[in-house]
C-alpha cells in the first residue's frame, strides 16, 4: 500500500476516473504553479473499482476549479485548511471555458489566428452543449 501524506492547505480531488488525472493536471495548469502535487493513479475504490486522486498543496484561492465541472462533475473536491477538510465543493458546468478545448471548425477565425483565446460558452445546460464564442460551432469532444 502506497502512502501519501496529508496536506496542510489545498485540495484533494477524489473520484477521478482512472487514467484521467494527468489530463486534469494539464487542464488545471498545475504544471505552471509553484506547489506540491501528488497524483495517485489506479487507487482501489469501492464505488468505482479504480480511481485517480490528485492532491494539491496550495492556497485555496489559487486554483480555478470551474473547469472540473466541465471535465467531470462527479469528481469530489475536498478543500483542506489546517490539515482538515473545511469544505466539499459541488461542481457545476462552467458558463464559459477558456483555453481548455479548441474549436475544430476550419472556417472559424481561431483556425488562422492562433493567439486568440479559445472560448466556449455553455448554450444548453440540460444537454451540456458548449459552442465556440466566435463561430458558434458545437464542441464535440
Amino acid at each position: 500500500m502506497l502512502n501519501i501524506s496529508g496536506i496542510h492547505e489545498g485540495f484533494v480531488l477524489d473520484h477521478i476516473k482512472a487514467g484521467e488525472s494527468m489530463q486534469i493536471y494539464h487542464d488545471l495548469k498545475l504544471d505552471q504553479f509553484d506547489c506540491t502535487v501528488a497524483i495517485i493513479m489506479n487507487a482501489k475504490s469501492k464505488k468505482m473499482g479504480t480511481k485517480d486522486i490528485i492532491k494539491v498543496e496550495c492556497p485555496v484561492d489559487a486554483l480555478d476549479l470551474d473547469i472540473l465541472g466541465y471535465i467531470d462533475h462527479n469528481i469530489t473536491v475536498n478543500v483542506i485548511k489546517h490539515d482538515v477538510i473545511v469544505d466539499k465543493m459541488s461542481l457545476h458546468l462552467p458558463k464559459e471555458i477558456r483555453n481548455v478545448i479548441s474549436c475544430k471548425n476550419p472556417r472559424c477565425i481561431t483556425s488562422i489566428e492562433q493567439e486568440l483565446d479559445q472560448i466556449f460558452v455553455l448554450t444548453d445546460e440540460e444537454n451540456e452543449i458548449y459552442r465556440c464564442k466566435y463561430c458558434e460551432e458545437k464542441y464535440e469532444g
Binding site: 477565425i109 481561431t110 489566428e113 448554450t123 466566435y134 463561430c135 460551432e137 458545437k138
Partner: protein, 306 residues
C-alpha cells in the same frame, strides 16, 4: 457604444424603430443628406463583395459622410499577417464606424472586442450576415405590413448560406411563423439552427427537397445562390449549383401575393423571365438595403437613435 454582430443584437422593438427610421429616410432624403458630414465609414472587406460594400458606401455617402477601406485581403495588411484585432485598433484611429466582412467565422466579433468604434458584421464566412437580414426584414415589412403570421420558404444552399441562418434567427421572434426548408440533403440547415433556434423556440418547420411541393403554401420565397466559395470541393459545387431554378412555370403554383426575395447576386437559381413578375421583389430589396444601412449607421453613431 454598440456593435452589430447578429440580428438578435436588436430587440424586435429596436428593429421596429430602426425600420421606422429607414422609412423616414426613404421619404425625406434631403433631411438626412448632410447628417453625417465629417464622419467616416471604414469598409474592411477581407473577401470580395460588390453589393454589400457598395451598399454600405452608398449609405454613408447618402448621409453626407465619407468612406475609406479595402476590398480584399490581398490589398490589406492581412496579407502581411496582421491580426484582425491589430487591424481594427488601427482602423479605429482613422474612422468613426467600421463595416467588416471576413471569410472566417467570428472575425468581426474579434474586431468588436478590440475596437473603440462601432463594428458592423458585414458577413463572416457561412455564419452571420445581419445587415442582409435587416434588409430582408425591412423588405418583408414593407411588402407585407409586418413579420407575423407567415409561411416562409427558404430554398437552395441552407447549409453555407449565412443570410438564411441570420434570417431564421431573426424571424423566430415573431408570432406564428412557419418555415419550409427546401434544399438537397447535402445543403440542409446546420443542426445548430435546427436544434438551438427552431426546436428550442417551438417553431413549426418542414424540410423538403422539391420546390414545387412548397410553392402553393408560401407567403415569402427566399431563394439563395449555391456559393462556390464555401465549397472545399469543386465537384460538389458543380453537382449542386443548378439544383433549383425558379421559373414562371413554378411561379404559377404560388399565391397571387407571394413575394420572391433573393439576397443577390443570383446565378441561375431565378430565371430572368421571373424578373417581370410583380411578385419578384429582389431588386426592391437591394434598394431597401441602402435605406436600412443608412438607418443603422445613424443609430450606431448615435446621430439619430432608433
Amino acid at each position: 457604444m454598440r456593435h452589430l454582430m447578429s440580428p438578435l443584437d436588436f430587440t424586435t422593438e429596436e428593429l421596429d424603430k430602426l425600420m421606422d427610421l429607414a422609412d423616414d429616410i426613404q421619404n425625406n432624403r434631403e433631411k438626412y443628406a448632410e447628417i453625417c458630414h465629417g464622419k467616416k465609414l471604414a469598409t474592411c472587406f477581407y473577401e470580395p463583395s460588390t453589393r454589400t460594400r457598395l451598399s454600405f458606401e452608398a449609405a454613408m455617402l447618402n448621409l453626407g459622410g465619407s468612406v475609406l477601406g479595402f476590398s480584399s485581403a490581398d490589398s490589406s495588411s492581412a496579407a502581411k499577417g496582421e491580426s484582425v484585432s491589430d487591424t481594427i485598433r488601427v482602423i479605429s484611429c482613422y474612422a468613426d464606424i467600421c463595416a467588416m466582412r471576413h471569410p472566417k467565422e467570428g472575425a468581426p466579433l474579434v474586431a468588436s472586442l478590440h475596437s473603440s468604434i462601432p463594428v458592423i458584421n458585414a458577413g463572416d464566412g457561412g455564419h452571420q450576415h445581419p445587415t442582409q437580414t435587416l434588409t430582408d426584414l425591412y423588405t418583408i415589412r414593407s411588402l407585407k405590413g409586418d413579420m407575423s403570421n407567415m409561411t416562409i420558404g427558404l430554398c437552395g444552399d441552407l447549409k453555407f448560406g449565412r443570410t438564411v441562418h441570420s434570417l431564421i434567427n431573426a424571424l423566430v421572434r415573431y408570432d406564428n411563423i412557419k418555415f419550409v426548408l427546401i434544399s438537397p440533403e447535402e445543403l440542409k440547415v446546420p443542426e445548430y439552427i435546427r436544434e438551438d433556434v427552431l426546436e428550442k423556440n417551438g417553431i413549426e418547420y418542414v424540410e423538403i427537397e422539391k420546390l414545387e411541393d412548397a410553392m402553393p403554401d408560401l407567403d415569402i420565397l427566399y431563394m439563395t445562390r449555391v456559393q462556390k466559395e464555401r465549397f472545399f470541393n469543386e465537384e460538389d459545387y458543380l453537382r449542386m449549383k443548378d439544383y433549383y431554378i425558379l421559373t414562371n412555370e413554378k411561379m404559377e403554383l404560388a399565391k397571387k401575393d407571394m413575394m420572391v426575395l433573393h439576397p443577390l447576386p443570383r446565378v441561375n437559381e431565378i430565371s430572368v423571365e421571373v424578373d417581370e413578375d410583380p411578385r419578384a421583389a429582389y431588386f426592391k430589396q437591394a434598394q431597401n438595403g441602402v435605406y436600412i444601412r443608412m438607418a443603422l449607421i445613424l443609430t450606431l453613431l448615435e446621430v439619430a437613435k432608433c
